[in-house]
Subunit: 191 residues, 2 copies
């Protein structure tokens, strides 16, 4: 499917745009391709854009003072990713986003998102529900982190995103779960 | 300040409504008062409303299988609270919300929120940004949970919400931080 069709189908699940409105909306996106390992957002940078994933897989992560990596989010096709803290508050990035595989994304600037939300009510409707879902997913992950042990978190991840296990190296899954590779291996073989 | 004025001032920070629009918007809210200890949302219930806090303090929490309490959120004046997972997906509540003090809230039903968002573009704009901010706060808390030890999380909480320490019993602050009361006492006296 073409980039435009993928986005159109994605938006249509939440908002009703006429073909004309969608064409106008789409004209504000830039198609970008990245190679495995390339970086879209770097800690300390300004963040002007958010990304709609067309193909491939990215990770949003940060490295703490002990050089330990924590993965905040994987982003797969039809997911949106950015450093939203930086994007929404005009601050510098506090996380990094890079490509686990070759990646194709559609990029939308923050200025254009606000302009489009202002011009087309249904675009604002779409972005409200996009963030509502993100908020709920984030709260669920927090609850899971507070309450569940590594085994339960591993099983939740497996149930939610079975495709991750073919796409993503095991050490990155460990970094998402906040456990060591050895612990993950034990869980993996026990499964 | 009156309930209506508090909400009006809160909305005006994000969205531009005419007086007429705001009066119409406000007519959909119900003013409710609760006594300390009363419950607004109970695990397993249907959730139809969200709450804008006028006075007092609430906690959103869940109790796990080992009868350990985890606090997801405190809600203070001008904050919004509900079980958004249940509210947005029409599911049963997975958390509880009750009153730490006597509380006054304005209650808005989910059906009315969607109707108002549809009828008044600026109301949709308000709720989009309300959730954007909630999403960012939730991501920050997740990062903090993944990366920081109890001491750092305690200091973050103290910096963010100094007023909490006069309002909220210490064992609830421990439940928010995910630590024991003994550990909190050590942090508290060391501060």
């Amino acid at each position: 499917m073409e980039a435009k069709e993928i986005l159109k189908e994605h938006i249509a699940k939440t908002a009703s745009l006429t073909d004309e409105q969608f064409d106008y909306f789409y004209s504000h996106f830039k198609l970008l391709t990245y190679k495995k390992g390339q970086t879209l957002v770097t800690e300390g940078d300004k963040v002007d854009c958010e990304y709609f994933v067309l193909s491939g897989c990215l990770k949003a992560f940060f490295i703490n003072d002990d050089i330990k990596m924590y993965i905040l989010q994987f982003a797969m096709p039809t997911w949106w990713t950015s450093d939203y803290n930086a994007l929404y508050s005009n601050a510098r990035a506090t996380i990094n986003i890079d490509c686990i595989t070759d990646v194709e994304v559609l990029c939308l600037s923050s200025a254009d998102r606000e302009k489009l939300c202002d011009e087309i009510h249904q675009v604002e409707h779409f972005f409200r529900w996009r963030t509502n879902r993100g908020y709920v997913a984030s709260q669920k992950r927090l609850l899971s982190f507070m309450n569940n042990d590594a085994k339960k978190r591993y099983e939740e991840l497996l149930a939610l995103y079975p495709q991750l296990y073919n796409l993503v190296p095991k050490h990155l899954i460990a970094a998402y779960l906040g456990i060591s590779r050895e612990t993950l291996s034990r869980l993996y073989s026990a499964h």
